[in-house]
């Protein structure tokens, strides 16, 4: 008999507290010992997770109206410029925005001690930040300037938006061509490809557990920064048409999702500003996405383990900055990457991640527990991601 479950059936079980929910890491263990078919019969939902820096992040803040009113033209939070080209008191603070006067890379490699990502972390941590605004004034909005200590509770709305996150696979960076350490967003890379940097939760990563986007789509309810969020669109640079293995797993960066959530419900544990030496500031965000086991194929997809996922090794000393499209120096599995070293062209390369596997595991575990308790239900996407079955030009799933 063919095993099938509907979204509604799974939600019924979640409500009743009788659903079986496991993390993607647990799913890989279970199906290895019990087989895909038996596991598909048992497990209703697999929770996935990821935690790592993603520069394509920021927050829309409604800082509240003043008396008299102001229509902001320029705005700063702790001296970090925010974009104010929106309605009167709406601003957007981007993760990579640097404070006025930051030395950046004028003495290389710069420290980038504080920036937009840290402002967002401070707000989530309950700290107040110094808000400054300037305006040209007018009849509706006469005020020309404002300065106030603001915290998250005192703001009208605060919405975290990641136009791109949860990258489905990514590069492994080495420095094979510059005779000094290079300072990349994947870490400090010594010459001669002595070490490598990567950033993915591998077998726990959301889109690597739903490689053909059968269940993750527009409207999927997720955990974002530890609070409730949603997938609101495909992410920027979403590219489903990359090289894939026989199981549909991409062999390089592929799909991405655009996500949003209420900053007020998030926790510092999963929203962290980062200072990347010689590169800049950014924001690390934790995300967990549930994947329903609708049938045996979804059970097979979510049973993916680090051995099955390969990533391309790219030279960040030349190929990456040149954007030349040179073929990768090699392919490496996440199992090898997780072990701390791998072999590249006969040489041992030490490697480390800039994303956190333990934190990805933790947020996937939180979502599992919420779902087991019936406190988090699945929401069925209202539209698929590009490249999914049923999408114009999409692939059959």
């Amino acid at each position: 008999m063919r095993l099938e479950r509907t979204w509604e059936e799974i939600n019924e079980k979640l409500r009743a507290g009788s659903a079986v929910v496991v993390t993607a890491e647990e799913m890989a263990w279970i199906s290895r010992s019990e087989g895909i078919r038996a596991t598909a019969g048992k497990v209703d939902v697999v929770t996935t997770g990821t935690f790592g820096p993603m520069c394509s992040s920021g927050a829309f803040l409604n800082v509240g109206h003043t008396s008299p009113r102001i229509k902001l033209q320029k705005a700063w939070l702790n001296d970090v410029p925010a974009y104010a080209g929106l309605a009167a008191v709406d601003v957007y603070i981007g993760a990579t925005s640097l404070p006025e006067g930051d030395p950046a890379n004028s003495v290389f490699p710069g420290r980038f001690a504080y920036g937009g990502g840290h402002v967002i972390e401070d707000l989530v941590a309950g700290k107040s930040v110094l808000f400054r605004g300037e305006a040209y004034g007018g009849d509706c909005y006469p005020r020309r300037s404002v300065e106030a200590e603001l915290d998250l509770a005192s703001m009208g709305d605060a919405i975290l938006v990641n136009p791109r996150n949860a990258y489905q696979n990514y590069n492994v960076a080495v420095n094979a061509s510059i005779e000094r350490p290079i300072y990349t967003y994947l870490g400090i890379l010594r010459p001669g490809a002595a070490n490598a940097g990567f950033s993915s939760a591998g077998q726990l990563s959301p889109l690597l557990n739903d490689p053909l986007y059968r269940t993750i789509g527009l409207g999927s309810r997720i955990l974002l920064g530890g609070g409730e969020g949603y997938v609101c669109f495909h992410g920027t640079q979403h590219d489903p048409d990359v090289r894939r293995n026989e199981r549909g797993v991409p062999m390089e960066g592929a799909g991405t999702i655009c996500v949003a959530g209420d900053l007020k419900g998030m926790r510092r544990e999963y929203v962290r500003g980062v200072s990347i030496r010689g590169y800049g500031v950014s924001l690390a965000v934790g995300i967990a996405v549930p994947v329903p086991i609708l049938d045996e194929q979804m059970a097979a997809f979510t049973s993916v383990s680090d051995e099955d996922i390969l990533a391309p090794v790219v030279d960040y000393g030349s190929d990456y900055p040149e954007h030349g499209g040179a073929p990768p120096l090699g392919m490496v599995s996440y199992a090898e990457l997780r072990s701390g070293c791998f072999e590249l062209r006969g040489k041992r390369v030490r490697c480390s991640s800039i994303s956190s596997y333990p934190r990805a595991r933790a947020i996937a575990g939180e979502l599992r527990d919420l779902m087991m308790e019936g406190r988090f239900l699945l929401s069925r996407p209202v539209a698929p991601l590009p490249g999914a079955a049923g999408y114009p030009g999409g692939r059959p799933a």
Binding site: F51, G187, I188, A284, R338, G340, S353, Y357, P358
Partner: protein, 155 residues
């Protein structure tokens, strides 16, 4: 061979004497100078790692004290702030002495203070601001609020 880090303070009065050269000639130790701030207008400070047998190390520190150089040993070379660390492991590949390792079971970062030489290479590798080294604290112009010195002479 043992390694021990030490913060040396050179009073202005001895600034013209080649103390480290004399030390190397008379004691069987190796010295790796991590940081040095030496100027004629103020007391000089140096952070160095000493390598040698227990007896030779004691001899070297005694020699320095006889030359009026104050010797203090930092209780730690590197501080890992558990509240800020997310256990990404980026520091691990930067650590030449394998003092920073990932626990194979939990994949969490562990710092083995016995193995740490205080080189500080891990610090710029941490993007979450969870690592501080004694060298960075000195470079920033202080001994730092978290710098808990051992009693001088207690080795």
């Amino acid at each position: 061979m043992k390694s021990r880090s030490a913060l040396l303070t050179f009073p202005k009065a001895v600034m013209d004497k080649p103390i480290i050269s004399r030390l190397l000639k008379s004691c069987d130790v190796e010295v790796n100078i991590m940081q040095a701030f030496i100027s004629p207008s103020e007391d000089g400070r140096m952070l160095a790692i000493f390598l040698g047998e227990e007896e030779a190390l004691s001899g070297a520190f005694r020699f320095l004290e006889e030359c009026s150089v104050a010797v203090r040993h930092p209780s730690r070379n590197v501080w890992l702030d558990e509240k800020s660390c997310v256990h990404c492991g980026a520091c691990v590949a930067q650590c030449p002495s394998e003092a920073l390792v990932l626990d194979p079971a939990t994949l969490e970062v562990r710092l083995d203070e016995e193995k740490c030489t205080g080189c500080g290479l891990c610090v710029p590798g941490c993007v979450y601001g969870a690592l501080e080294s004694i060298g960075e604290l000195l470079a920033a112009g202080g001994e730092g609020p978290v710098c808990d010195w051992r009693e001088p002479g207690r080795r």
